[in-house]
Amino acid sequence: MNGFLRRIIFYALLIAIWEMVFRLHIWEEFLFPAPLSVLQTLVNGFMDRTFLIGIAISMRRITIGYGISVIAGILLGLLIGRVKLLDETVGSLVLGLQTLPSITWLPLALLWFGLNEKAIIFVVIMGAVFSITIGTYSGVKGVPPLYLKAGRNRGAQGYQLFLQVIIPAALPSIVVGLKQGWSWAWRSLMAGELLFVSLGLGFLLMMGRELNDMSQVIAVMIIIIIIGLVVDKLIFAKLERNLYERWGLDLA
């Protein structure tokens, strides 16, 4: 609770400084809006449902894109983690592709799919899938051989060994990959939405720019931060804590 209180005070102070700088009138109001007008924009945006629709559209895209990434990434990670030939070939390609910022896939996606949902979901997938693949891959590689032996000794073979030993043993690392994948997916989505007219939160951000409405820009940025944080803290932090508690690992 103490930490929570400190955080509240910190943010209150931050907003107070913001308000003070605003009152000094160094910049024009349309370039540097007051905290209150940003709040007003937020309220209005939610009241007339502009922001709600923006959030809904972005969330739909990321759900589809991230969902596909999770399935594809885990499958690919398991495969290259267990099949040596794939490790030596596809494995190196994955490493290379992971270093490629996903937004660089946009031109290609636009040519392949046109200016539509598919293109942006493709960019999201390219952003997230390789982090998940690598997390899964290193998890599988790191499964102590002893667990494999113990599993085999107790009758586990083939897919049972996969489902009952390899995947659970690799789970902590897979979760790290999922978390990283999520943050890449979110960034890729915003970048994609900024770059072509598409509705969604990124689009609202660009609209703010075009209307010279800085308070909308800031309001949308706040929404983007909050969604990112909520998913990270509520979903992934919980998942990790649960897992670490169960395994008796320290919360690092």
């Binding site: 002893l146 667990y147 032996k149 599993g151 009758g155 049972q160 030993v165 169960r246 395994w247 008796g248």
Partner: protein
């Protein structure tokens, strides 16, 4: 002549194993010939690096010998089988499962239904006095408790042969004593065939019907001793503690054991 006798539960014929690491050849086992009778408690004792653990792995079917054959119940061993279950030195309990789910693991692999599985697991947890901790996770247990879980997990599969690799080495003396007592009790109750590996001579003599002494690299069976002292035996029993100055080195131990012919009848 040999065929007329009942076949031993487990038979090893000329088993040899060499490891190749970084161009260095390491012969760990050489010409191991061994028969284990049904219900026998056999202890393998030897210095570290004499290949005893490797031998257990080979019997379990987790490693292949370079030459030689293994027969379990007269059938040639070609891989892991639930007739031979190994309790690893490091136990290898699964941290992602609760105690009871760990015990159920092998039964699940055999596709035994949930209810039967749970019933059996509870029965074996009771046998090792861990019923209360069935829903705990592995990290919440003490060393001795983990050892009991490993034992229950192995017993639950109802193996014919139980292979144990230095199971009590990481425990404090009291816990070790307690578990040795319990193991003898469980062995008596379940009539399992047990092959127990240790580097502690006193432990081997305390537990085994028969003790095989291994030489260091390459591992060879140097001596075979029958221990015909009534059970239950305890590691602090006078007949064992008489050898208070039991030295650690196997060669020296053998000399000592020869001095106690009224306890140990040497076979070879």
């Amino acid at each position: 002549m040999y065929l007329k006798r009942e076949l031993p539960k487990l038979q090893l014929k000329n088993v040899s194993k060499t490891f190749h690491t970084k161009g260095v050849e390491l012969k760990v086992l050489e010409d191991i010939d061994l028969g284990v009778e049904e219900g026998e408690f056999l202890c393998l004792v030897g210095p570290s690096g004499c290949g005893k653990s490797t031998l257990l792995n080979i019997i379990a079917g987790l490693e292949e010998p370079d030459s030689g054959e293994i027969f379990s119940n007269g059938h040639k061993v070609t891989g892991p089988g639930t007739d031979r279950v190994l309790i690893f030195q490091e136990l290898a309990l699964f941290p992602w499962l609760t105690v009871i789910k760990n015990v159920e693991f092998g039964l699940k692999m055999l596709k035994i239904d949930r209810k039967t599985r749970e019933g059996l697991a509870l029965e074996y947890l009771k046998m090792v006095h861990l019923s209360k901790f069935k829903d705990a996770y592995v990290y919440q247990l003490s060393g001795g408790m983990k050892q009991r879980v490993a034992l229950a997990r192995a017993l639950a599969m109802d193996p014919e042969i139980l292979l144990m690799d230095e199971p009590f080495v990481a425990l404090d003396a009291q816990t070790g004593d307690l578990l040795r007592d319990e193991l003898q009790h469980i062995w008596k109750e379940t009539r399992k065939t047990i092959i127990f590996v240790t580097h502690n001579v006193r432990e081997a003599v305390c537990l085994g019907d028969r003790v095989l002494v291994f030489s260091a690299r390459p591992g060879r069976i140097k001596k075979e001793l029958r221990v015909e002292y009534p059970r239950p035996r305890h590691i602090e029993d006078p007949w064992l503690t008489l050898q208070r100055h039991l030295p650690e080195y196997i060669q020296y131990v053998l000399v000592q054991l020869k001095k106690l012919p009224y306890i140990l009848n040497q076979d070879s």
